[in-house]
Symmetry: C2
Subunit: 210 residues, 2 copies
DNA sequence: ACTCTTGTTGATCAGGCGATCAATAAACTG
DNA sequence: CAGTTTATTGATCGCCTGATCAACAAGAGT
């Protein structure tokens, strides 16, 4: 990286701010949310710790913001990945497929850190709540879309949404911490969702194949 | 507590060691695993930080040990709670019932801390693995017992065991962090287990009533 | 009662953390 | 080119962490 020579230059607040946010995200993803310290960010950007503080209201805010940015980016990425599906059932299959993919373990680890750290960092806890809700809202929208389109029946979309999210998070967490590949849990999750939506068995499996 | 006057007395290694372990468990349960510092334990016991160090190989070992003790105690407690059930199906129902009870949220929080902290504390990571395996072994035993007794059919007990644990941990984690009472998820989990074990719908619900 | 073992202390080290503030220098403005 | 703004620095504070070590004293053994 030629960032080192560039970093000494005096930069606009926007540019420097973006640089700091980027470094924070990179540190969080590679070393965890609690490796996110003033000095670590400063070292990565190539500036003084004082400058990092100058650009951030507080460290706990930076942690919360970094977590939010990472998770929001993942939501966007997943939404984009699913948007192309012609039917909601296909979208649900693709959603399960991608959420239980091993490539998401980096973000899963961020979630684990956030759940733990959130107890001592109110800003982070608030952001965790916001992002969990964002996921839930997204899933509720998807479920209602399928229901109103007549693809399946859903009694309580909000409840089912966070049940499903809880299940997926639990399985990915276990896979990340100990049991390896979360991808092996796809059939189980498909079966659960098919059952809850009164879909024919295999409906979501076929969806994933296409 | 009159512990304060007692704590100045010179005690046997076993006695002092037990005192320290107890204090560590109490701190972990009330303030989280990372509030478990040499000074916090020392203050709670009423001795010098140096004495705590004298009794422990290292702080990361104390954290690992404390986590293990708390979780092992919970396993024992749950096992004792279930042991009385006349059939395995009833035991499974009782298991789901107690694991998704709000009273377990204190230990759920410990799990979240351990998953996060385990990445920087190898001793803790090893202990997390051991305790996750202990849970899985317990559940596998239960499932095989029911299968060999002809109560239900299970194809891959080890796989089903950790799927089930993942689901339950995910739902309790979500409930603890944001969505409140995990007890509302009992019907869902019962349905999933009934389906996976080819039990008639409602078999586990009736179990919980008795 | 005297000795010896060892539980216990107090002081202290080295390192990390977030945060503050005056001083510097680079870029923009007139 | 001179003057003003402000991005950036370096030094430093206060607090926390785990850990070490010589010195002390309580209790067990004789």
């Amino acid at each position: 990286m030629s960032t080192l020579s560039d970093s000494n230059r005096r930069k606009s607040p926007a540019e420097r701010g973006a640089e700091i946010s980027l470094a924070a995200r990179q540190i969080a993803l590679s070393d965890g949310l609690d490796a996110l310290t003033v000095r670590a960010v400063a070292a990565r950007v190539g500036v003084t710790p004082a400058l990092v503080v100058h650009y951030q209201p507080s460290m706990s805010m930076l942690v919360a913001g970094t977590f939010g940015a990472i998770v929001a980016a993942e939501i966007d990425e997943v939404v984009a990945e699913i948007m192309g599906c012609p039917t909601t059932v296909l979208a649900l299959g693709a959603l399960i497929d991608t959420l239980l993919s091993p490539k998401r373990s980096a973000v899963t680890v961020i979630w684990l850190d956030a759940w733990s750290l959130g107890r001592r960092n109110p800003s982070l806890a608030a952001e965790v709540g916001r992002q969990m809700d964002a996921w839930q809202v997204f899933l509720v929208t998807l479920l209602r879309q399928g229901a109103s389109g007549g693809e399946f029946v859903v009694a309580d979309a909000p409840a089912l949404a966070w049940q499903l999210l809880g299940i997926i998070d639990g399985l990915t967490a276990h896979a990340t911490v100990r049991y390896g590949d979360a991808g092996r849990q796809r059939p189980l999750v498909r079966t659960i969702v098919e059952h809850e939506l009164a879909l024919p068995a295999g409906a979501l499996t076929c969806a994933a194949e296409s």
